[in-house]
């Protein structure tokens, strides 16, 4: 096993984000001669981080990266990650785990926007809150997340799991506006409340255990069902979009 400890050094007066897509387990198999970017300046990994490596590994599966320091503006960590583990002790910046296909990312704090964008596999656990576009897709793209699992213990922002096409997304707290918009597959589970779930959905399953506010009027009510010990109201739609998705809600309120 190899453990890579990276502690972000304090940066200058502005909060210019650092992009660090080089931080994935596989890259550390061949050393720490990596670079990151702050704005338009390329920095050596050790200019930005205190680096220590404990142990060794031959394959990415056996590498764990532990990120410490004020990492809330550190972007693109874990992008294209395919194996191994990244643990973030604090908060993490945007685009963590983009295009990830395998391995695990665990964030002890909060995650900024686009957590696990266009993810294809692996798993992301966020102990705090996640911001907008968690488990979503790219602008203009047809498919968002296609596989894997994202689990957020806190609440999430707007446009959660937009264009979800596969995989599972679980949020234990509340979600913001329009979770599961344009869903075409996969499973989205929100334990708390949200507004306008599954707007324009085509297919897939969306569960809201709490209350769906501003429930869209274009879903057909199919009556109640039992689901994992809960009674939920089942809808199908979005009829506006010729959709055949399933939306289950604990409770709902129209904006009438």
């Amino acid at each position: 096993m190899m453990r890579v400890n990276l502690t972000l050094k304090p940066m200058g007066s502005w909060s210019i984000p650092i992009e660090a897509e080089s931080i994935i387990p596989a890259n550390f198999l061949s050393g720490t001669d990596l670079t990151v970017w702050r704005g338009n300046r390329e920095l050596g990994l050790e200019e930005a981080f205190s680096v220590s490596v404990v142990g060794g590994a031959d394959r990415a599966e056996d590498v764990e990266i532990v990120l410490a320091g004020k990492t809330a503006r550190l972007k693109r960590v874990g992008e294209y990650m395919d194996a191994g583990k990244i643990t973030v002790l604090g908060d993490i910046g945007m685009h963590c785990g983009n295009f990830m296909t395998g391995g695990t990312i665990e964030i002890q704090g909060n995650a900024d926007g686009w957590l696990g964008r266009e993810m294809g596999g692996g798993s992301i656990i966020c102990r705090g809150n996640a911001a907008d576009y968690c488990a979503s897709g790219y602008r203009g793209g047809r498919k968002g997340m296609t596989g894997g699992r994202v689990e957020v213990y806190g609440r999430v922002g707007d446009f959660l799991a937009e264009n979800l096409a596969g995989g599972t997304v679980i949020v234990h707290g509340d979600a913001g506006d329009m979770p599961g918009a344009e869903m075409r597959g996969g499973t989205l589970i929100i334990h708390g409340d949200c507004t306008r779930p599954a707007a324009n959905m085509k297919d897939g399953a969306c569960y809201v255990y709490g209350t769906a506010r501003w429930m869209l009027p274009t879903f057909r009510n199919l009556g109640t069902v039992r689901h994992e010990g809960r009674t939920l109201i089942q809808f199908t739609g979005d009829v506006a979009n010729r959709g055949k998705g399933n939306l289950f809600v604990g409770n709902y309120e129209y904006l009438d």
């Binding site: 926007g113 686009w114 911001a131 907008d132 576009y133 446009f159 913001g176 506006d177």
Partner: protein, 129 residues
């Protein structure tokens, strides 16, 4: 009282927009259009100053009766007064909630500031006073 604040363009705002130092621009952009019933309840008349408090700050405007706005909502022309209290959160779309902000409005004795005073409050230095 709580209101939903909407902002937008008006002819007068458009006519004065190239001359932001002018009294006319300040007057237009600091107008808070309100339904007459709400004005009654708030105890204000046309032209009275009101303190509008939003999620990130407060600003003084002058109220004006309008038949266009619904009860419970106010309309403020785009500009530095409305933006003094509008939050910068864009829900990661690039666009703030310019047209849907919950605000608290109460009568006040203060006068609306001039545009340059608002700018200096935020750390700027006015060129023309």
């Amino acid at each position: 009282m709580k209101f939903l604040m909407n902002t937008g363009r008006t002819v007068n705002q458009g006519v004065t927009v190239e001359n932001k130092g002018s009294v006319e621009y300040a007057r237009e952009a600091s107008t808070c259009f309100m339904h007459e019933f709400d004005m009654l309840e708030l105890g204000v008349d046309d032209g009275d100053p009101v303190l509008v408090r939003g999620p990130v700050g407060e600003v003084v405007m002058r109220v004006k009766a309008s038949v266009e706005v619904e009860i419970g909502t106010v309309f403020v022309p785009y500009g530095p007064y409305a933006n003094h209290i509008v939050a910068a959160d864009t829900h990661s779309t690039g666009m703030p909630d310019f047209k849907s902000h919950e605000v608290e409005i109460e009568p006040t004795d203060e006068e609306p500031k001039l545009v340059y005073e608002l700018m200096e409050d935020l750390g700027g230095l006015a060129y023309e006073r």
